[in-house]
């Protein structure tokens, strides 16, 4: 395994020791992300207070990249204002987009960069982020769900 390997220590650590993973029973909003092509299937749940993501959790099954990215996402998004979370998701999508010229949105996420050279796996990375994006859409449509 070389340094260029997409399975760098950070990703393997998040795969073996996922953060914020488990039951979503007491979350205010839960959204599912799935990729039927490869069988990745995860759920993201959030609790929100004063326009801030107080907790972000996930559960599901999938490849190591999908699960590590979900774990990293929950860490990065927790504590963010909703607008900041939206901004972070947009930056992630730009970073993984085709245009180039955009770097990782934060040091903690840099490990995911090794996946960028494997286009077939970009979707695995973005699955959790897209689910969070849908949660933010839902909050915009129905702010009463989070008590706003």
């Amino acid at each position: 395994m070389t340094d260029q390997s997409i399975y760098r220590a950070v990703l393997l650590d998040h795969f073996h020791n996922p953060r914020n993973k488990g039951d979503l029973g007491d979350m205010q909003i839960v959204r599912r992300g799935s990729n039927p092509r490869c069988g990745d299937e995860i759920e993201i749940g959030i609790n929100c207070e004063n326009n801030t993501l107080e907790s972000v959790r996930f559960r599901g099954r999938g490849c190591s990249i999908c699960l590590a990215s979900a774990s990293l996402m929950t860490e990065s998004a927790r504590g963010l204002k909703l607008t900041q979370a939206r901004d972070l998701i947009e930056k992630m999508q730009l970073w993984f987009g085709d245009q180039g010229g955009v770097g990782p949105p934060g040091m903690g996420l840099a490990a995911l960069g090794s996946v960028r050279q494997h286009p077939a796996r970009k979707k695995c990375v973005l699955l959790a982020w897209q689910a969070l994006d849908e949660i933010l859409d839902e909050i915009e449509r129905h702010p009463e769900i989070v008590g706003a």
Partner: protein, 422 residues
């Protein structure tokens, strides 16, 4: 056993084939630095230099329009195209050369039969039967035509060992059955299906059978007259030929009942404002300028395989498969799908490693120079039957060797080390 078509084509050497030396025929395997362990031939095979050269030669020195010109270059191009058809017809032992129709792929050939034959023969309540192990290309065209004609798509189940469960398809040869479409070799499980037996029963009830031979032609002797099937399809790129060309074989009677899928140049007899008539078979199914270089490349691949000998190729792959099966079986973490080794199985091995996603297996493999596939292999109904969303798949051809399989074993060790439970 089917007669080896190679016995009628260029004669294979009687001496044992030196398969290790044949690797040098494949630039991608011979040049490989670092070495390439190519275990993805079920997706597409590597190409021997003779095929690559024949395509280059065709474009460089013998290129002209097919069936459209009266000058020598064009006449020669037409002759080369038809010579390729003869080579292919002899290879699969078609009764006559015009029973072979060039298509873009096996997929297009199945769509041609679905749109051109099934759509004009199905009535409300009729049934088309496919098996649960079919590739989407031998599933979706039938699903659509059944929906369009208010017919039913019926499924031959697959047993726990990945074989057709014909006993649990009692209506397969029933009065509403209008067509049976099955693969000769599963692209996921490697299962070799008893096509001959199915056709024999179907004959008695006058039910046509289409054989998806994409994984079998070029890998074992395939004789359409011995199989006695109505239609058979395959793709060149899975048998050492180029991409972009495949073929449909049909009996003359069935092809006469089939409407063309594509209309346009080269497939007509007479065109009027209100009515037109089609050219003879097979031209009526080949609208548009034909793929001359593709046909030439395919014929060269056929000659190449025939010279080695299809029985020798089949035996070589069987030996490799047996070795690979036992190698994988030795890992406690590895779950293998499909029949055990032996006559029921071609060179395709699907497996999973407990608790590890097949994409992770394939990615680690890629980093170690081992090319395997991971995913649903265009067989979602079969994945549902196996109760998984995807598998890893190693597929073998005669140019593989012991080192390729050892490299796969190394991949499994590495994958378990990285992702396994600690």
């Amino acid at each position: 056993m089917p007669q080896d078509p190679a016995e009628k084509a260029p004669a294979p050497s009687m001496a044992a084939v030196d398969f290790e030396a044949l690797r040098d025929d494949f630039p991608n395997l011979a040049d490989g630095q670092p070495p390439l362990h190519y275990l993805d031939s079920a997706a597409s095979t590597q190409k021997p230099a003779c095929v690559i050269e024949s395509i280059r030669h065709c474009y460089a020195h013998e290129y002209g329009p097919v069936h459209r010109g009266l000058y020598p270059l064009a006449e020669n191009a037409s002759e080369n195209y038809e010579a390729a058809r003869r080579t292919l017809a002899r290879f699969i032992n078609a009764g006559t050369t015009d029973q072979v129709v060039f298509t873009r792929s096996a997929t297009e050939a199945i769509n041609l039969v679905a749109s051109g034959w099934a759509a004009t023969h199905l009535q409300s309540g009729d049934e088309i039967w496919v098996s649960q192990m079919e590739h989407h290309s031998n599933f979706l065209p039938w699903q659509r035509v059944c929906n369009q004609r208010d017919a039913r798509l019926r499924i031959i189940p697959v047993d726990d060992r990945g074989r057709l469960d014909l006993e649990n398809a009692p209506e397969l040869f029933g009065p509403r059955s209008r067509l049976i479409a099955i693969s000769q070799m599963s692209n996921v499980l490697g299962t070799i299906n008893p096509v001959r037996e199915v056709v024999e029963h179907a004959r008695r009830h006058d039910i046509p059978v289409l054989v998806d031979a994409a994984q079998s032609v070029g890998h074992m002797p395939v004789d359409v007259q011995e199989l006695d099937c109505d239609f058979l399809v395959a793709s060149a790129h899975k048998m050492c030929g180029p991409t972009g060309i495949g073929f449909l074989y049909g009996t003359s009677a069935r092809l006469r009942e089939t409407e063309p899928l594509l209309l346009g140049g080269g497939m007509v007899d007479e065109v009027g404002i209100d009515h037109s008539s089609w050219a003879e078979i097979p031209a009526r199914f080949e609208a548009g300028s034909p793929n001359l270089a593709g046909a030439v490349g395919l014929a060269t691949a056929v000659d190449y395989l025939s010279t080695i000998g299809l029985k020798a190729i089949e035996q070589r792959v069987r030996d490799l498969t047996d070795y690979a099966y036992q190698t994988l079986e030795a890992f406690d973490e590895v779950l293998l799908y499909g029949p055990e080794t032996g006559n029921e199985r071609g060179g395709i091995l699907s497996f999973n490693i407990e608790g590890i996603h097949p994409h992770d297996v394939a990615q680690v493999a890629g980093e170690q120079g081992v090319a395997i596939r991971a995913g649903h292999h265009c067989c979602q109904p079969l994945m549902q039957r196996l109760g998984v969303s995807s598998t890893a798949r190693a597929s073998l051809n005669f140019y593989n060797n012991e080192q390729d399989i050892s490299a796969l074993a190394d991949v499994i060790n590495e994958t378990v080390k990285l992702f396994g439970k600690r």
